[in-house]
């Protein structure tokens, strides 16, 4: 019986058909550098390249190539272990890249990155593990950004189902993130009650995990305020936004104090502060990209809300708090020009803490400038 034999485009031996990285159809193109990634069309290849493939091409080559036979059991085990380590590392890298794309609103680039991380995670952990959920969340955020609500719903349902399957043993941090994204989807669908319910779940889980005053819970409060604003109940929004401001203010001040302490030490030791000494700063005092982007977005929205809703007499204290948060944010991101700008916007403030912080920042900038001029002089001498 002669079955119609399908012709596979790439010149591989019979019955080996590779699938496109992005869509899963039969592939007709291959990446020339690593020779293990395949695509069905040029658009997909470009999209993947921009998104993630550029950065992980060489690593993928080693991971996906056919492994030669190793004689001893030990060597095989070692090699498997190495491969697993590489995959884990790669999962993290791809996730971070995906998140960065999302923050910079490059949603179409985020999707290949997140897909890559998802595939790797499935390889390592299995298709039903809780570890897959962050990748699903990035995918859902990206599809929300691209306005593909159904796709987003699918990804989130998958995440939720995974949580349910694990009999609620997922750490509350992850369940709160899932709930937060579901709430964002509900907001996009204009189902505000549903969104409020999801956010309630999110805030409860996050408070349980981090503590009720932690800045991670602030994201939930912020979205809840947005929901109530859309439902036109502004007094609730008011109290919620005040709470958000308070949480971010507290967190940023704490970061500033620990950061300025470290930087003082560096100045004394004579090290140039422009190098990033990741090891010395503790985890909690780092302001990573994700938090920074989130803080930036949140603070801008809060500022806009304050300025637009209180034409008459804005609550000066609240405004000052927000400006001060901006100051600290720019300072921690080393954007020193903006620091001076936002410091000047604070008027009529009589909160001692803000004055203290400003003194510190100014002193630090001063020191930095002096060191820079010193270094310049040294270079000129040499």
């Amino acid at each position: 019986m002669a079955t119609a034999e399908l012709v596979y485009p790439l010149a591989f031996p019979k019955s080996i058909a590779h699938k496109c990285e992005i869509c899963g159809k039969t592939a007709s193109r291959m990446c020339a550098k690593c020779r293990v990634t395949f695509y069905c069309s040029e658009e997909h290849q470009i999209a993947d390249n921009v998104g993630i493939h550029d950065k992980i091409c060489p690593t993928l080559a080693t991971l996906r190539s056919k492994q030669p036979f190793l004689p001893s059991e030990e060597e095989r085990r070692d090699r498997d272990h190495e491969i697993r380590e590489k995959k884990l590392h790669l999962i993290e890298v791809t996730r971070m890249i995906g998140e960065r794309h999302v923050f910079q609103n490059r949603y179409d680039a985020a999707i290949p990155a997140a897909l890559a991380s998802l595939k790797l995670a499935m390889d390592v952990y299995g298709p039903r593990s809780v570890e897959l959920i962050p990748s699903y969340l990035i995918l859902s955020e990206a599809s929300l950004g691209l306005k593909q609500l159904n796709q987003c719903w699918e990804y989130l349902s998958q995440a939720q189902y995974t949580v349910l399957q694990q009999q609620n043993q997922a750490p509350p941090a992850i369940t709160s993130q899932v709930a937060r994204n579901m709430a964002q989807l509900s907001i996009a669908r204009k189902d505000y009650d549903e969104a409020a319910r999801h956010l309630a779940n999110d805030i409860y889980d996050a408070s349980l995990y981090y503590g009720t005053e932690h800045y991670k819970v602030a994201g939930g409060y912020f979205l809840l305020g947005k929901v109530f604003k859309l439902m036109n109940r502004l007094e609730v929004t008011e109290s919620l936004y005040t709470q958000v401001t308070q949480m971010w203010y507290y967190h940023l001040r704490r970061l500033l104090q620990s950061r300025v302490v470290f930087s003082d030490m560096d100045a004394i030791l004579g090290k140039n502060d422009d190098e990033d000494e990741e090891d010395e700063t503790t985890k909690s005092s780092k302001l990573d990209l994700a938090t920074e982007a989130e803080a930036h977005n949140t603070l801008q929205t809060l500022l806009a809300y304050r300025l637009e809703n209180h034409h008459g007499n804005p609550m000066i204290q609240e405004l000052n708090k927000i400006y001060h948060c901006f100051t600290i944010l720019y300072f921690l991101a080393r954007d020193y020009i903006q620091v001076h700008d936002s410091m000047n916007k604070i008027k009529d403030c009589n909160v001692k803490e803000i004055d203290d912080d400003q003194q510190r920042i100014l002193k630090f900038l001063d020191q930095l400038n002096r060191m820079k001029s010193l270094m310049k002089r040294q270079q000129q001498e040499n």
Binding site: A196, A200, I203, T212, E213, E235
Partner: protein, 435 residues
Amino acid sequence: MAETTVYRTKPSNETSTKGQTAFYRNVILPSKALKEKQKLPLNQIKNTAAAYEKQTTLRKEDTEKFRSSLERQLSIDMLRHGYHNSFRELCAILAWQKEDRERLGAEHPLHRRPLLDAESDKLRYLCQYLNKAEEAERRSQFSNMYHNYLELASYFLKSDDRWLSDYFYEKSLTVAQTHSQFDPQLAAEAYLNVGLAYERRSDLVKALNSFIKYYQLSEDNEHLKTDASIQLTRLYMKLAQRRTDNQSLQYVNKAYEASIQTGDKKVENETSYKLGQAFLEHGDVDSALKYLHKYYDYCQEVNNDEGFGQASEALAICYQKKSNIEKSTEYLTKYLQKVSDKEGDMQYARACSALGFIHITLSQYDSAIQSLSKAYSISLANSHADLDRNRVLFGIAHGMKLRPAFNDHVDRMHTKELLQWKCTRHESFITKPKP
């Protein structure tokens, strides 16, 4: 282009039934298995189907209610409606209770009471009123907020959760303080409540501070002011009872000053009586006299017999201490006269015993014995509470009377007579002059 899988993947749960056609395996076997399962009688199936149809479809939130604890449900309900402050307060209260328990150690009796999150009524009530308070705060209706906290505090007081009710009284105080420009009366009331709470916890110094503030704040309001003074008086008396040194005198003094402010004669005079007694205890007879006189006059006015009796007694003791015998007997005889129409009454007995006491101290043993015997017989007849006291005084009088003769015999070493006397204890034995 349609995709076909290259290799046919065998499903792992396919039963290995060799020698049977695919048709049999895929169509006939499954239906047979189904028939085996459905051995229930038709009626039951119908009933279950009908019941299933009648069930209301549960929404997502209802299913969640079955899955989670009460605390979680209530928190999520609160958050859904935007009451995030209530949520955070609830978390804080529960955490506080747990911390407290851990701090007190495993064996403390407090542990026997269930944790708050195990008691559903209290949790619900708490959440309900916290929500109301938050709603009031949003609308800047601070008096409403204050009243809600007050409700919560009194509820927890009734259910004997002192720690919670104290916490809410203090919260209501902070609310009233920060918004006292609207209604100073609320602030005063709040201080009163907080003071009472401290008193219940036996923390008298703090209670004193709160009551003083209460007094200061209630300057305008007459009703509250008198109430404040009464509370202050009471508290000072309590404080005085605790301490037994000079401090107590100061406290009673302060109590008196406060009682003057009440404008209530009764309280004022009772305090003056107590003050007089305190002065007496500390030996300051003159000031004692002053205050006791005041009380005495008041009792005469109001015809308060018992008070009158107390006052007369005290005054008599004062004068006796000052060795002013006529005055003391004068007071006592007045007292006796006043109550003489009620012979057989306790007052009369007391009057007689007081008189007898004075006589003893004045070494007038015969008259002492006379009055004391009256007192003793009355109290014996009516089995008063004073019975023991009268008995003792009576005995003392007799003893004191016989003492000089006894000493005399001892000096002359008439041991035989003494021994005989000891056997019979007759009075005449000893007073008979011996050669």
